[in-house]
């Protein structure tokens, strides 16, 4: 196409890991989605006020952090579409049909015999699940230590809810240093 304005910076930027993952994302078949949802719900079981990974669409997150076919999987978790989907398919439809105990057995076996795939899956579920606003809200609602946690650091920050020093807390008078003119050889052999 003639007269299309281009910018060499665009080409360089395209070589970097893209913020927010790959665009466009990869796609999974309905069966693969079902398998991934079932697996994610075993990796992080719901309960205690926390939603299931399937309920917060962790699969959508995974579609953006697996390198599409044709791209070298250079960036964490270094999952490549073809190999990752093959791993999902190895779990198979039987995994979806199985009960929770059987699913756990299958995943435990995968963690040993299909370690690369399993590690990628687990890490993506962890990062994806804890990035979801509904999970952040569950942390705020259910954990005393997380009552102020709001996920992405900006734009809010935490300044208004972060304690400051009291003058009386500062340990004045503790500590010393050696002045330049007082620095001398130490008996290294006696250390």
């Amino acid at each position: 196409m003639a007269n299309v304005q281009t910018d060499a910076r665009e080409e360089l930027l395209a070589q970097r890991a893209q913020m927010g993952g790959v665009d466009p994302p990869i796609t999974f078949s309905k069966q693969q989605q079902a398998i991934l949802n079932a697996a994610a719900d075993e990796v992080i079981p719901p309960g205690g006020g926390f939603p299931a990974p399937s309920a917060v669409d962790v699969v959508e997150f995974i579609t953006r952090y697996v390198a599409p076919n044709g791209q070298t999987p250079r960036h964490f978790p270094c999952a490549e579409e073809g190999a990752f989907k093959a791993g999902v398919d190895r779990l198979g439809n039987a995994f979806v049909q199985a009960g929770s105990q059987r699913r756990i057995e299958i995943l435990e076996r995968a963690s040993k015999e299909d370690a690369t795939f399993f590690t990628q899956l687990r890490d993506l579920v962890y990062y994806g699940y804890y990035s979801r606003p509904a999970v952040t809200q569950a942390i705020r609602d259910n954990l005393e230590a997380g009552r102020d946690y709001h996920g992405p650091p900006q734009p809010l920050g935490y300044l208004s809810v972060t304690e400051r020093w009291n003058e009386s807390e500062i340990p004045k008078g503790r500590g010393s240093y050696t002045k330049t003119k007082e620095i001398k050889r130490i008996p290294v052999e006696k250390l």
């Binding site: 893209q18 964490f76 606003p133």
Partner: protein
Amino acid sequence: MTTKQEYDVLVIGAGMSGGAVCKRLSDDGVKVVCLEQGDWIHPSEYPHHYLEWEIEKRRHWAFDPNVRQAPEDYPVTGHTTCYMVNAVGGSSIHFAGHWPRFKPVDFKKGTEHGLEGTIDWPITYEELAPFYDISDAEVGISGMPGDPSYPARPDALRQPVIAPGKLGKKFAAGLDALGWHWWPSDNAIITRGKDGRKACNACGNCLSGCPRGSLGAADVAWWPKALKNGVELRTNARVEKINVSKGRATGATYIDRLTGDRHEVKARIVVLCGNGIGTPRLLLMSAQKGHAKGLSNSNGLVGTHLMFHSWAFVDCWFDEPIEGYKGGFGAPLYCQEFYETGKDRGFVNGFTMQVGRSFGSAYTAMGTHSGLMAPWGAGHREFFNKHFARHLLIFMQGEDLPVRSNAVTLDPSVTDSSGLPAAHVEYEVPENDKKLTAFGVQRIVEAAKAVGAIETNNTGVLSPPPGWHLMGTCRMGTNPQDSVTNKYNQTWEVPNLLIADVSSFATGGGLNPACTASAIGVRCAEYIKRRASDVLTQKQTPSNKDAPGF
């Protein structure tokens, strides 16, 4: 393409020290051009507003260029985890803002013990102190005057300290229980607005840069002022070689990464600020007639005596909220109870204890700093709930000995995106430093238990250490037999080629180097301004004694 224009000074590298050199020179009308192989960080690239901010720490915002693999990066092979950024602002883009000064003893370790390749700096704390003050005022530093473990600093400007939060107060309580030194940290994190930069709002994600400009990275601390002064900054300009003719630097040849074209820049003085790996890499790549082993390397010292700081992380958990997701990552306090060499410890040198923040929920699930990962399955929820925001990271950075065999060389078997050879690093933790680090871990655990930690997990002596600080590979010294430059940053073999970054450190102290790197840059610029006529006429680099001085 060769431009006809000759600049007064060419600066290579737009990081902390390069930014300082450019700004301070241009204050006095010196005509400066700076070549930077990276580009500006676009505001949209900061992860702080993204839901995916935590996974991006391991991708777009990975510290290690070998992991990030961005086109502006160059590979580093060998036994290392080196952390750096190639961009306007350099590796300060990624730093935590820790801004401790070196202490008087840090400049005299050759006198104190002289082990391995340890030498004294050719300057003292007192000689550098005025430049620390200038640098601090430019960058904007929060802190609290009065730490008795330092000389008085009456001229050091300070903004109010960053808020410690429960995390900082918890560690302070542990140190108080043991009667150990601590003091609120100096940080290059502004708590009041400065030069159009916003005050820190304690978001806790400093290590991925700062979209507010609160963190004093060089892109906001130095560059806006340098550009306003008229400094010409060429980004995406990857220097291939520093050119020398008749014993004097004449400029540099660079590759424009946007076009692939080569250009030559001419300058009367060249200042190299490429960090402790990039600087020796470029000197070694600049081998040419009369300099077969690389520039200023006839003594074979370029690239040697690499220092990282010896390092260990200790994760501690409590049965109460610590809320480590709040607050500037820059340490709210530091402990230097064991900073100077002890008489009965079995090793020389010492270390600083600092605390770090705890990022977000995925960081907890993925194992924090020491790899204690949440289990998958039935135990996940209990583990997460017990560990999230109840975590305190304490780490130690120890002074590592400068060892000649710990070195940067070239690896022509691997190249960057312009076809230039990779840097190669070999680094082994010296036995002295292993003992130091093990001692440091014991002291940290002691502090954590003193304040009631119910669980700890530590990395032990990290080998290789995380390469946050890339120091010492072109060190300044007393003579051409012990160093690469004289005390005024002039390389011994090319008097108008100066080195003013962390590679010029003779020893690394047991604390963060950015503050000293910035001060060295300021000092170098002031020397050029005052003594350019001398530098431009010297046929040989003068000895420290014979140099005209300030």
